[in-house]
């Protein structure tokens, strides 16, 4: 249990940081380059890691970071504060990543006809932040995460790779807390089922 004083302090800090982010975004909207750099310093890692979770490719994730921050710069003046700044930034990131995945899916048949630069060839992904003893297992997990439906994938990536609280995931996905929990439950059950095919010792039995 978190003591009440700590809980209140945490909430206060959260509120202060939301207000600070909002002020930064307003300044970005007015063309303040320093505010843009501060906002980038604060959100580059979450945006990059979310993109890495979806796209499983460092170059593609960097491209998403570029697109997201250009989008933030162009639309900061239009931000009305209906959602928290970090929710807004996560939403932009998630949407951009899903767009790239859809595009990859559409172009997947091109792989037989074109060069690897124009068509995406899925490879084994080694996330640089995974603990050494988990590397092999994480490779399998990243491979099957790709097969989940978009909403389960988003709930899983934001919860387990980004490590966001469930309520924040719900805010980003614009669904209820219960819906996120259900998505995670279904996602995990689906992953467990799909793992059957990848079990290394299955032929020995």
């Amino acid at each position: 249990m978190i003591p009440l004083a700590n809980f209140q302090r945490q909430n206060l800090n959260k509120k202060e940081s939301h207000e600070e982010n909002f002020r930064l975004l307003l300044a970005v909207g007015q063309g303040d380059a320093t505010a843009f750099r501060l906002l980038y310093a604060q959100f580059q890692i979450p945006v990059y890691n979310t993109a890495l979770g979806y796209l499983q490719n460092e170059q593609d994730a960097e491209e998403i970071v570029q697109e997201v921050f250009i989008n933030i710069n162009n639309n900061a003046a239009k931000f009305k504060g209906n959602a928290a700044v970090n929710t807004w930034i996560y939403r932009i990131t998630v949407n951009k990543c899903l767009d790239v995945l859809r595009k990859r899916k559409r172009n997947s048949w091109l792989i037989f006809f074109s060069e690897p630069t124009t068509a995406y060839a899925p490879t084994t992904f080694n996330h640089p932040g995974v603990l050494l003893e988990n590397k092999e297992a994480a490779q399998v997990l990243f491979k099957i995460i790709q097969t989940l439906p978009d909403n389960q994938k988003t709930a899983f990536i934001l919860s387990y790779i980004e490590g966001l609280p469930r309520q924040e995931v719900a805010d980003i996905m614009a669904v209820s807390l219960k819906a996120v929990e259900a998505l995670l439950q279904r996602g995990k059950a689906s992953l467990r089922k799909k793992l059957d095919k990848h079990y290394p010792n299955r032929r020995k039995k």
């Binding site: 380059a33 843009f36 750099r37 980038y40 580059q44 890692i45 990059y48 890691n49 890495l52 460092e58 994730a61 960097e62 970071v65 570029q66 921050f69 250009i70 710069n73 162009n74 996330h127 640089p128 932040g129 995974v130 603990l131 988990n134 297992a137 994480a138 399998v140 997990l141 387990y160 790779i161 490590g163 995990k188 992953l191 467990r192 793992l195 059957d196 990848h198 079990y199 290394p200 010792n201 299955r202």
Partner: protein, 97 residues
């Protein structure tokens, strides 16, 4: 390892995951792209000036063409005279009378 244990191990393999850090020069690239986009954007007042200039040009051309057409059109008196002349010429084909 037992199958179910292995599955648990895979599903929990992201525990303790560290955050990856993007390339250092990425911010510079982003700022360059933003600045390049800014220079490519033509401000609204320039569009208005260009539209006004185009409008003046079209109006001037229209006025000139209209004047040319009006000046080159023959007078109604001249037409009558020429018609009379034509009928005189056509009525007599006997040149050596």
């Amino acid at each position: 390892m037992d199958k179910e244990d292995w599955k648990d191990h895979v599903l929990n393999s992201l525990e303790g995951i560290q955050k990856a850090i993007p390339r250092e020069g990425l911010l510079v690239d982003i700022e360059q792209q933003i600045n390049a986009a800014k220079t490519a954007i033509i401000p609204m007042h320039q569009w208005r000036l260009a539209a006004a200039a185009a409008l003046i040009l079209v109006a001037a051309n229209f006025w000139t063409v209209q004047h040319l057409v009006a000046n080159s059109r023959p007078d109604s008196k001249e037409i009558v005279i020429s018609k009379v002349g034509e009928s005189t010429l056509i009525s007599n084909y006997k040149l050596y009378d």
